[in-house]
């Protein structure tokens, strides 16, 4: 594992090294019957070896779509990647041939999904589906692939792996099924693992076990982990860096401690205020007013401005910083922290 100390990318705290995955200005549109849907609007982030980056956002913020674009598994059409670069180990996956992209999926980047039951093929045994990774990418024989599948099932702590290798997905519990997905995803020692809401469908105790497993595997293999979630608790526990997404854009980025401790964007601030606190028992929860934007007609200027308590409109706003007219770029606010708000300094209180 190369752990050469390179220039530290902005916002990276622990395990910093050269980025393995670099997403630059990614834009994805969907052509639907009712017009264009702008799902991802210029997303950039990097993932280094051993780093855990959380992509935090509510439904429809574009976090899953951007992940699927990286994997090259978007259905195109209706989806279309209109711009951007996805650099993996110095190569742009978007300009690579379909065959080259395919060869990256599995040994280079792999992915686990939210609902393990529907994500596993019901008519093949779990051992077969795990073993497929070796057979497709390394030409391993069926027999050897099964042995390797058993080893992997052991590694993700599925009890009695040798007896269960021929069982079918429906014969496993939800947590065990997600472990099967993980076993499949890590089979070829990927450099990047994208976990799309890996614990959302699981109950809380199982959630913790699965997250622990992911962390342990990451420590053993040094893979970069992209954790897509809307669960603030999960982000807080496992991620190094977090990128908060809203309306297909990254609105704030930094280390988890910084972003959660002292948000620089009013949306992040709203998210933090909406967390139920034990100390504030009996008090009212504070929701963010309004609705997430319709992605086929994103508000002009800052997409968050209709819901933002700190917006400045009309004569209140200085020139070039009008919240309903000027799109705030993602900019460095303080070292290690980027935010897309005209008034981040005020939000941050610096």
């Amino acid at each position: 594992m190369s752990t050469a100390s390179m220039s530290v990318p902005s916002g990276s705290a622990r395990g910093a090294s050269a980025p393995v995955l670099e997403v630059q200005d990614l834009r994805v549109q969907f052509r639907t019957g009712s017009g264009l849907v702008n799902a991802v609007n210029g997303v950039s982030y990097t993932v280094s070896e051993g780093e855990t980056v959380a992509i935090l956002g509510e439904s429809g913020s574009g976090k899953s779509v951007s992940a699927q674009a990286i994997m090259g598994i978007l259905d195109m059409p209706p989806a279309e990647i209109t711009s951007g670069r996805i650099m993996f180990e110095g190569r742009d996956l978007l300009t690579a041939s379909a065959e080259e992209q395919r060869k990256v999926r599995g040994p280079g980047i792999s992915m686990i999904f939210q609902d393990a039951l529907s994500s596993l093929n019901p008519v093949y045994s779990v051992g077969f589906q795990i073993g497929e990774m070796f057979r497709a990418h390394r030409g391993t024989s069926r027999k050897d692939a099964k042995k390797l599948a058993i080893e992997l099932m052991d590694r993700v702590r599925i009890p009695a792996a040798a007896q269960r290798v021929d069982d079918y997905p429906h014969q496993f519990s939800g947590g065990m099924r997600q472990r099967v997905m993980i076993a499949m995803a890590i089979a070829l020692d990927p450099r990047i693992l994208i976990a799309d809401e890996p614990t959302t469908a699981l109950d809380v105790t199982v959630q913790a076990q699965v997250m622990d497993l992911l962390k342990d595997l990451q420590r053993d293999t040094g893979m970069g982990l992209v954790l897509i979630t809307h669960d603030l608790g999960v982000v807080n526990e496992v991620a190094d860096n977090v990128a908060v997404m809203y309306a297909g854009r990254i609105v704030e980025r930094g280390t988890v401690d910084d972003v959660f401790g002292n948000p620089a964007h009013p949306y992040t601030e709203g998210l933090m205020a909406s967390i139920p606190m034990l100390e504030a028992k009996g008090g009212r929860l504070q929701p963010i007013g309004g609705q997430p934007p319709n992605l086929s007609s994103i508000p002009s200027g800052c997409p968050f401005h209709p819901r933002c308590p700190k917006r400045r409109l009309g004569a209140d706003a200085p020139p070039g910083r009008h919240c309903a007219e000027d799109v705030p770029p993602l900019r460095l606010v303080v070292p290690g922290r980027e935010a897309a708000c005209h008034y981040s300094e005020e939000v941050l209180g610096v």
């Binding site: 090259g72 609902d115 093929n121 497929e132 497709a136 990418h137």
Partner: protein
């Protein structure tokens, strides 16, 4: 699984008894006297009529007639028609024709239907997909009788590609009637396959298969088609049972001496023993192939388990 199959096979006995009794009663209830009709223009002598009525138990009430029939059946005797020809001989002679017709029809419906459905399902909204949609709609909306005559006229008479009637040319004689007989099911199979493939293409596990970096062929064949064909296989399997019951219209138009024609003639002549014998056989085929389909279903889809 073994217990399940045994139980299902045992269950066919009451079904067969019930079906045969119903058919028996219906033939009994038909108006007219089959023995007098036997004579045609020249009435039979009263003594002969009385003797025949006695011989075929026609003077007994329905229940007694049926029990006597069952008694003979238990000794392996399916009875005879009014001319003294054993029903078993009729079946033995007619069944091979119907089996050949069924084999041809099933092959046509399965091969053409599945291939057309898969291609249409993979390339939805393509030109080929639209051709499949329009042609299948056309085929299912034309009655088979009309279709049979059109096929006979166009392919048999005008183009001279196929024999128009009879079974003189072996398997080749069955191609055109097989195509006509299969047409309705073929359209259904094509549409069922298309929908199933299109649905499975969007399934989460197909997305997983792509994310695993499997080659496209593996994604389509192993992770899409296998799952898509489960409902199709079960439909085709059940269709075998239906088609083995004979096709009265197709066999009549193409003059094929199969089971369908036999039952048609027997009903017209009120040949109770022949009708009951053949219909019971049809019911058995139908039940048996449905059982085969149920077993096949469990083999294809591990989520299905019979206790």
């Amino acid at each position: 699984m073994g217990r399940y199959v045994a139980r299902r096979l045992l269950l066919t006995i009451p079904v067969l008894l019930g079906a045969s009794f119903l058919i028996f009663a219906m033939v009994y209830a038909l108006p007219g006297d089959p023995i007098r009709a036997l004579g045609g223009d020249r009435p039979l002598a009263p003594a002969v009529v009385a003797q025949l009525r006695q011989e075929f138990n026609l003077n007994d009430p329905l229940g007694i007639q049926y029990l006597k029939y069952l008694g003979d059946l238990a000794q392996g005797d399916l009875g005879t028609d009014f001319r003294g020809r054993p029903v078993l001989d009729t079946i033995a002679q007619r069944l091979p024709v119907t089996i050949k017709l069924t084999v041809v029809a099933i092959l046509i419906e399965a091969i053409i239907g599945i291939v057309a459905g898969v291609l249409a399902g993979i390339r939805r909204n393509s030109f080929f997909d639209n051709v499949v949609l329009v042609s299948t709609t056309l085929v299912v909306s034309i009655p088979i009788l009309v279709l049979a005559f059109i096929a006979q006229f166009v392919f048999g008479l005008k183009l001279g590609l196929f024999p128009i009637s009879g079974v003189q040319e072996g398997w080749y004689s069955f191609l055109l009637p097989g195509l006509v007989l299969a047409s309705g099911s073929l359209a259904y199979v094509a549409r069922l396959t298309r929908t199933s493939v299109a649905e499975n293409m969007r399934a989460d596990y197909v997305r997983t298969a792509r994310a695993k970096g499997l080659p496209n062929r593996t994604v389509v064949v192993r992770h899409t088609l296998r799952n898509s064909l489960i409902p199709v296989v079960t439909f085709v399997g059940a269709d075998i049972g239906t088609l083995l019951g004979g096709a009265i219209v197709t066999e009549s138009v193409f003059n094929l001496p199969g089971i369908g024609r036999a039952i048609f003639d027997a009903v017209r002549a009120q040949e109770g023993a022949v009708v009951v014998g053949i219909v019971t056989l049809m019911v058995f085929f139908f039940i048996f192939f449905n059982l085969v389909v149920d077993v096949l279903y469990a083999v294809l889809d591990p989520r299905i388990r019979y206790e």
